[in-house]
Subunit: 122 residues, 2 copies
Amino acid sequence: MTPGEIVTAFINALERRDLDAACAMVTDDCEYDNVPMAKVYGPAGIRSVLEPFLAGCTSVEWVMHHQVEGGNVVMNERTDRFEIGGRWIGLGVAGLFVVTDGKISLWRDYFDQAMFTNAMTG
Amino acid sequence: MTPGEIVTAFINALERRDLDAACAMVTDDCEYDNVPMAKVYGPAGIRSVLEPFLAGCTSVEWVMHHQVEGGNVVMNERTDRFEIGGRWIGLGVAGLFVVTDGKISLWRDYFDQAMFTNAMTG
């Protein structure tokens, strides 16, 4: 699999809310950085952020608008959509991924925190 | 020039604060979207946003951390640094560019507006 295919498989696992599968695709020291919020490390760190959040969603769909790769770097532009409380919300995101030895070692998402907060509470 | 080389040349022109050169590299209907803020169109729209802002800077340096391309799409991760009032500020940005017939037809920057405001006023 190319780095881009690994990232696509990772995002597909998150859309299925299959954190076991997703966490198996990251390195032990993977940095997961939600730029305006906080960063965590490793499968346990990723799980600590995503498990409670995804548990609150009845469905998750991350629409990929563009994805490009070069060397071990993958970037994509997405609309991350979450069904919460019977309502769909969406957030525009640009993601950066670094793949090391077939696993994701860095995942950094750029977005506007106020747009996320407004979508959640709007 | 590849799409990535065109984007690099465009950013280099902005670092020189040479808006004539930068605006010559975009299509007449180019969309420039600062995602959490506003979007403008065409060379005149880009100039209306950047000219007053860059005029307030004594120096501009956009540090490119990663840039990848595929087809006519280019994405990069940057720290956009501006020297304003004798002080350097920096903002983490992920940018998406689409190049059409050798010119930039879409430029969309993802960042956190509060981080930008805090940097400007901090």
